[in-house]
Every structure is written in C-alpha cells, then in structure tokens.
Amino acid sequence: MFLAGLIACAITGILILVRIILGKTTFDRILAVNSLGTVIVIGISLHGFYSSRPEFLDIAIVYALINFIGTVAVLKLFSTGSLGGDK
C-alpha cells in the first residue's frame, strides 16, 4: 500500500520534471519546482512508514520548510535582482 503511494509519487515527479524542462518562463519552472518539493515531502513520509521508521517525519518537516524559504528567496532574487533589498 505504501509502495503504491511511493510509485504514484515517482510518476508525478517525472511528469513535473517534464514541465521543468519545457518551462517557457521562469515562473513556470519555480512553480513546478515548488510542486516537486511538496511531492517529495509526501514521498519522504511514505518512505518512513514503508521502512517502518516514522522518525523520518522530522526530515519531511525540514524539507517542507526549506522548500518554502527557497522558493521565496528565488522569487525575490529573480524579481528584484537582489536578496537584501527591502522592496
């Protein structure tokens, strides 16, 4: 059952990678990378249950956190040209 969920996550990941490669604008790519991050968070928690080590959930929370902050940072860098400005 957990294996089936993991396979679904893998298929989704491959489909999202297609969008990252096709791209067109940078916003498309950032959006797709953010979705890929969410899928990986689900995948990490499922893998923790699959190998019966639910401590992996800590890592999933950390991944979700870094995913959020990374997306905000990349968006800011791309739109204003600097990380430190207060615009």
Binding site: M1, A4, G5, A8, C9, I11, T12, L15, I16, V18, R19, L22, T25, F27, D28, I30, L31, A32, N34, S35, T38, V39, V41, I42, S45, L46, F49, P54, L57, D58, A60, I61, A64, L65, F68, T71, V72, L75, F78, S79
Partner: protein, 106 residues
Amino acid sequence: MELILDIFTGICFFIGSLSIIIGACGLIKLPDVFSRIHAAGMIDTGGTAFFILGMIFQTGWSLITVKLILIGVFIFFTSPVTSHVTANLARQKNILPLGKKIGKIL
C-alpha cells in the same frame, strides 16, 4: 478493526494518488502560468490532505500523529503564500493572463 483501517487507508491513498497525478497532468497541459497555479494547488491541497489522512489511519493516536498534522498544517499554511507570491510577481513583470478580463484590472 485492522482490516477496516487498512481499507480506509487504501481509499485515501488511491484518491491522493489520483489527485497528484491529475495535478501533474494539469501542470503539463494547461496553457499559461496563472492556469498552472490551479493545478499546483491541487497537488498541495488534495494530494497532501488525503495522503496525510491515510497515514493518520495507520498510526492511530500517538505522537507521530501530531507530527503528521504539523506537516499538513505547514503545507496548508505555506502553499497559498508561495502561489500568491508567484502570481503576484508574474503580474508585476507585466505578464497578462490569457482569457477574458471582466471590469477594470489592477
């Protein structure tokens, strides 16, 4: 009892898998950034909610459940923020959405 919980988990995982795969298809298929945000929102809400619900059925009431709920709350809290910021900055770069505009646009 175990069997019933397993069946519930299976149903939740099935709906969740369907939801994330349709969301990913939407990411490929839909025409522009603003439409694709809806598909990404489907992955973030439908997919995560059902997968986490399924895992909660497996653990029962324990401290692991708290962490699962924390992941869910965190994703539900940050997903609209990133979606909005992406859309907002795309609008600031003067990318206009496809389709019709009703009334005056900001």
